[in-house]
Symmetry: C2
Subunit: 404 residues, 2 copies
Amino acid sequence: MQTEKFVYFDNINTTFPDPRVVRKIDEVLNFRLGNPSAHIHSAGIAAGKVVDEAREKVAAYIGAAPETLIFTSGATEANNLAITGFLKANPEFGFVCSNIEHFSVLNQIRSLRNSVKTSILDVDSYGLVEPDSLEKVLKNNRSIVSLSLANPEIGTMQDIEKISEICSRNGSILHSDATAAAGLIEIDVNKMGIDLLTLSGHNIYGPAGVGALYVNKKIRLASIFEGGNQESGIRPGTENVPGIAGMGEACEALKGDMKSHEKRLRDLGNDLWKSLQESVRFVNFTGHPEKRLPGHVSFWVEHIEGESLLLLLSMNGVMASSGSACSSNLKAKDEDELMASHVLAAVGVPSDICSGSITLSAGRYNTEEDFNYVKSVLPGLVEKLLTMSPSYDDYMKNKETTDG
Amino acid sequence: MQTEKFVYFDNINTTFPDPRVVRKIDEVLNFRLGNPSAHIHSAGIAAGKVVDEAREKVAAYIGAAPETLIFTSGATEANNLAITGFLKANPEFGFVCSNIEHFSVLNQIRSLRNSVKTSILDVDSYGLVEPDSLEKVLKNNRSIVSLSLANPEIGTMQDIEKISEICSRNGSILHSDATAAAGLIEIDVNKMGIDLLTLSGHNIYGPAGVGALYVNKKIRLASIFEGGNQESGIRPGTENVPGIAGMGEACEALKGDMKSHEKRLRDLGNDLWKSLQESVRFVNFTGHPEKRLPGHVSFWVEHIEGESLLLLLSMNGVMASSGSACSSNLKAKDEDELMASHVLAAVGVPSDICSGSITLSAGRYNTEEDFNYVKSVLPGLVEKLLTMSPSYDDYMKNKETTDG
């Protein structure tokens, strides 16, 4: 039953590096570069130039000035630096986020709530933050608001311009984690009105182990760990020169055909949604039907377990996920806890009839054939699982009784 | 006056990656790996295997079990995790370090001193911690003691086994930053009696952007930032798969010829020391003459500025440093502050007659020819600077007066 097929629909959790990124990293590793802080000799100066060039390329992707970017080890560190680093430097602010944020945002409440006013906003059944509820919270308390551009698990994209308008009108600061959205849509921090933005290298066809935080010039941050004076003293530690170079190259590679890939993936994603709607019995889609990431389709199926469907998909060469990989290795105390995604709970998916959701997330390397393959194979796998499902069996017996 | 010569004596600040490391990273980047947390499909499982294999290789280098290693973004983060992470989980302990530690250790006092008893130990003129003064501090307070295996700026290696014996006898925990020593000497955490050990990828012929913290199984740590459950929940964030793979390969590459390189570099270093002692006027060596890193020679020269000598060396193709590159971009308020290294001050180098020190640090790629070139070129550069030195001019006039 194993197959040679390799149809990767888990781009939300990691993408494969662009060949230009791989070449760049190889070049940098072979270049006998010094430590960028070693300003006194040519090997150190050359390393500093590699970092500077990458900073320009990453900044260009989000329409920012190079000096507004701080390189980090990834999105998790960038999210911690944005929120805890901001609140260390600006302790008079509160902290607001939604109940569908990534754990690297949401869990910061644990350490912040003793010193800072914290609020968690509910989202609606599509995963959207209600502008009114945000306005109400901010009226009472200037805050740093952290809302991701898009949710990885259900694909919903926030109305970020509306949100940023509310934040700035109330003297508040907007941080947005763009990990899920970057690489799929165009981002402009000025147009969007974002003060702090998190980027992840490995989610935009760059390498893992590197990320960046955009910091609007008007904002003061404190570092979250101690050390040397790298990255304007905000992020100590010798720079990840090959990783940073790779992330720069990834942003450079995105530039040319961002719009065309966005349109192509949006059309293919919409088409897949429609196809599954018609061909998969008991399907329930999650997230907003229009305000969503291009090429992202997420759903759960009544009577069957998400995990089982993922496994069957995997055995047929289709790699998908149950939302964010980051939550998949949480140590759950029991099976119920393991199944209950905080995102699904937040959008009101009933935990008694939903046993796990599926996220199909495409990227620029996915072809129309990949989408067609999923369309052709998925309905059959669902049917197979339905025949083995005690819950479906009960349902059918019940139905026969009622119908009969 | 520029030259094509490339004689790299700044290995203490970064090393060049081993060719096997470069190949491994290239392979990993090309392998279409998933997110290691995506346990449900083959691409994710393959990524997890890459991380597991690397963990075994890094562990083998320090004689530890694989599950005792936490991968980080580098030594700075590992030092912060070791100390702040330990004290978060064990708030009844104090914190002790020496006055020649790296800023990523020393500066943690700023955030810790409000909640924890902190002590800074003076070192002697060689940079060695006095066992009695450590014993005295620990008698009053169980502590986490952080002392680096070797100091990057002056090369001195602590008597770590004596120190660990004192720590364990007093119910204290020993953390050691091995950034400067690793790759140059053999390390065995059990023989050395170290509870927490920091390793840096780019200092052992691996890539930048990755490090590791060894954590003795008996020790509980708290994470220093929030997020997913990666690295046993101690270090959240998607794993730096290519960087970790590169660091694993670097450790694997060290194994075979560690001892022979250590002996070769020790002999060449001692020989360089003797040669400079005879050929360089007004030379003052720093650090311990025997208890020091192999291939590491550090000194300052009366009447001349360290920075000028570094510059002339660089123009002649010799790349050296003024100790730790991490301190070279500190924002100093005035020139005095810029010159005064906290390490030189700690070992009693007189700041009125010393204007900056030089660190020549060799690595396994340095040849005997490299050492001979330094021996041949350095004395002449010192003489050239002496002829331009007002201080030397005064000294000579004074001498003539006294002698005449």
